[in-house]
Amino acid sequence: MTAPVLEVDGLRKEFVRGFLRKRTVAVDGISFRVERGEVFGFLGPNGAGKTTTMKMLMGLIYPSSGKATILGAAVGDIEAKRRIGYLPENPYFYDYLSATEYLHMIGRIYGLDRAERHKRSSRLLERLGLAMAESRAMRSYSKGMLQRVGLAQALIGDPELVVLDEPMSGLDPIGRREVRDLIIELREQGKTVFFSTHILADANLLCDRVGIIVKGKLRDVGPLGELLSPKVLRIDVLWQGSEQLQAALREQFDGSEPGSEPGSEPTASPHSSSSEGQVFVAQAQAQLDRFVAAVIAGGGEISSVTPQRETLEQLFVRDSGSRPEEQRS
């Protein structure tokens, strides 16, 4: 068994802010491990403590207590830092430098010679689709372009561990797709990827495991499928039928079914109509089976059956027993 790439042990950060010395516990004693070669998603709503955790790991802020080991060394060890690449949240770089100049500077910090710097920076700028803008001053870059420069500067040292803070934020759907592909490519190269997001869809299909953080506490760690799949909340049925059948079914399935989930609204009628037909919301598999049978028996037609899985937000609500914090940015 090799040692984990990242081992976090009871990490905690308390900010003391302002004149009144107001205290905020941003990260409240979290522990987890990231194994070599895996893609680990760090999921949580805005303000959960993801950025704060990553900054502690990168030596940007000092923990109030707890410790972390990265690639076998304490945080801040310069030889370990050489093997880590980090993308800050909403990165910004120097106004008057070009992307090429910036990457060359980072290459110098890594101690790369001129030829190697040139090779790596032009390859990365090409790979990230920045080649056309490489010699322009970065203050003219869009948010998406800055995000790409951020990825390039994280990768120029050819790191073993890649830490990305909200790598898909500020990108259009194509950009998100590209970042997703990049992460898959990194995994294929045998690198370990630790990235944060507040959007479940970004973590889906990409992560070997996720850690879910809510209000500074780690709620769950494991494969995303295991954390979410049993939680099919309700099933939407789109169907067509005569008015007679509609009235009959409204009577028969009136929403007072036993065993309805607390996440839904049991008092509201499960029936509604849309431009495409009638909609019925089933709360359980057995109820769905009976409803579909009734529609067929009554001469109606089923257009579609769509299971509605629990969203990340609902998962956060279930886990913390309260609403996630309001969106900050």
């Binding site: 940007l60 802020i61 000092y62 830092k81 910004y92 120097y94 430098l97 100049e101 951020g150």
Partner: protein, 277 residues
């Protein structure tokens, strides 16, 4: 990438990393329009001294020298405050520091590299402004000479020291406050003689006088760096030969290095423990 590059170690590698930061800081600074505008003002002041020189009788060269040195000094001070105060606060404001500190370098290398970049910038600016001044002097049939070079080196030392002071302030307070603090220190530091006279004269023996005396000892003595326009032996000379020797320049350098070094050391210690939130 299959080939593993060799990583230089030790002091040399540390200097390489600082140089990377310094180069980047220099580029950022000289591409900023504010700097170009301030240098243009300094040159405009020198050009104005040509006109003033014409109005005075037989004093053209002295006036060009005096005003030229004053221009380099005054605009240099404004530039030094601007650069010194922005050095850290801009990095923190723009969050550019978040990408740099996690890179394989020590925090003190980052800070010292930034300062080194400003030193390079300031040397370049003072050389540029001095060259313009020398050009004006030649145009009027005067000579620039080694005495002027010494005076310009002294001005440069003053500016480097002021930048270190400004950077120290900005490592724990806002840019505006830092500029005000460092600016006031410069004004006081230029007038220590008057304040010393006050401490040993009117306030002699009183507690206030003692305190003022001690405080004056601690404050940077900027007066020693500006040697133009003094009155010696009944004649006004721009830079006096007997006074501004190479030995004088040497001792002023030692003072600037010691005082500036202390400022950098304290700034490094503050920077070391800082949270970048």
């Amino acid at each position: 990438m299959t080939d593993t590059p060799k990583h230089p170690r030790g002091v040399l590698a540390g200097f390489g990393r600082m140089w990377a930061i310094a180069l980047n800081t220099f580029r950022e600074a000289v591409r900023n329009k504010v700097l170009a505008i301030l240098v243009m003002f300094a040159v405009a002041l020198m050009a104005f001294s040509l006109v003033l020189g014409q109005l005075s009788l037989h004093e053209e060269i002295r006036i060009i020298k005096d005003l030229g040195l004053a221009g380099i000094s005054i605009f240099g001070v404004v530039i030094a405050l601007f650069l010194g105060v922005n050095l850290l606060s801009k990095e923190l404001d723009r969050k550019t520091v978040y990408a740099i500190v996690p890179k394989p370098l020590h925090r003190h290398e980052f800070l010292l590299g930034k300062y080194l970049g400003l030193v390079v910038t300031m040397v370049a600016l003072v050389v540029l402004m001095s060259a313009v001044l020398a050009g004006f002097l030649l145009m009027q049939g005067g000579r620039h000479g080694v005495l002027m070079v010494r005076a310009e080196i002294l001005i440069l030392l003053e500016l480097l020291l002021l930048m270190a002071v400004a950077m120290l302030f900005s490592s724990f307070s806002s840019p505006w406050l830092s500029a005000m603090f460092a600016g006031s220190l410069w004004v006081i530091g230029r007038n220590t003689a008057e304040l010393e006279a006050f401490a040993t004269g009117k306030l002699e023996g009183s507690a206030g006088g003692t305190v003022l005396g001690v405080v004056l000892e601690l404050l940077p003595d900027f007066r020693m760096f500006f040697v133009s326009g003094a009155n010696f032996d009944e004649t006004v000379v721009s830079v006096h030969e007997s006074f501004v020797s190479w030995a004088y320049v040497g001792s002023a350098s030692a003072y600037a290095a010691a005082y500036g070094g202390m400022c950098l050391l304290i700034a490094v210690l503050l920077f070391q423990r800082r949270d970048f939130t």
